[in-house]
């Protein structure tokens, strides 16, 4: 893992947080959507906050697809769940929301999950990883980088 690759993973997390927050704010202003007003769903995309949010989600998507080109899905997803930690920190320190003990515990679990997965190899895809397809071997023995 190079510094550049960590930057791409950071991009996935940060852009997802910014994009989701903006889309969420815009959608809340738009109000409820029902099956009977399908065109209104399409039109919500033109609200300024939703549009800016979509722009950040595109940046997220570029980083995400880039990460998937050199890392496993089961590596990228837990590693980029840093975004949930960021969301909680934003809620606490920028929005001054009350963050419960349960939420901090959730942040702790996710942090451990991120730590656990990033200690391991980013890619185990058979095509590129060294040959270790002995099906009889225990899972842990097959997984060493």
């Amino acid at each position: 893992m190079t510094f550049r690759r960590y930057l791409v993973l950071a991009g996935v997390s940060v852009f997802a947080v910014i994009g989701d927050s903006l889309v969420s704010r815009g959608m809340r202003q738009a109000g409820g959507i029902s099956l009977h007003s399908l065109p209104s769903i399409v039109l919500t995309v033109f609200r300024p906050e939703v549009a800016l949010g979509v722009f950040f989600l595109l940046a997220f998507f570029a980083c995400y697809t880039s990460a998937l080109s050199w890392a496993d899905l089961t590596y990228v997803l837990p590693a980029t769940s840093v975004s949930f930690i960021l969301l909680t920190l934003v809620a606490k320190f920028i929005l001054h929301e009350n963050v419960s003990l349960a939420r901090w515990l959730g942040v702790l679990l996710i942090s451990i999950g991120v730590g656990v997965v990033t200690q391991g190899p980013a890619l185990t895809h058979p095509a590129k990883a060294p040959k270790a397809e002995c099906l009889g071997a225990p899972a842990s023995a097959r997984l060493e980088p």
Binding site: I33, L73, T74, P78, L109, G113, V117, G120, A129, L143
Partner: protein
């Protein structure tokens, strides 16, 4: 009835976003490391190769379905149920799907990470 709506929304989101992630991952593995490819052939070639990949296109379509399923779900049911339930379950279904469809070696480490994150996401919603 609203519970049924909520959980069918959750099921649709989980299914379509898992399909989207798996297809996207498969497509990008076929394209290859985009940083290397960009150095060799330029950004335009990378973009063209990504956009022409059938798995990528299918994956994005599945993600669009997931996105609209989420919008519907949010208008029918409580955010505090639909989002954490679907996000958390997606980490688990993705680990299963990556093992069987992408042949990733989902070992104890990956399982532990997926389950910790899934559990953490549920706690965040409390």
């Amino acid at each position: 009835m609203s519970q049924l709506y909520a959980w069918s929304a959750v099921a649709s989101i989980v299914f379509s976003s898992t399909a989207g992630d798996v297809l996207l991952s498969r497509g990008m593995k076929q394209v290859g490391d985009v940083a290397v490819l960009r150095r060799q052939a330029g950004l335009a070639t990378v973009v063209a190769r990504v956009l022409r990949n059938p798995n990528f296109v299918l994956g994005v379509s599945a993600m669009a379905v997931a996105f609209y399923a989420m919008l519907f779900g949010l208008s029918w049911a409580d955010v505090s149920l639909v989002i954490p339930a679907s996000t958390s379950l997606t980490f688990v279904t993705n680990a299963i799907a990556a093992k069987f469809f992408l042949h990733e070696r989902v070992d104890q480490r990956r399982w532990l990470a997926a389950l910790l994150v899934a559990g953490g996401v549920v706690l965040l919603a409390l």
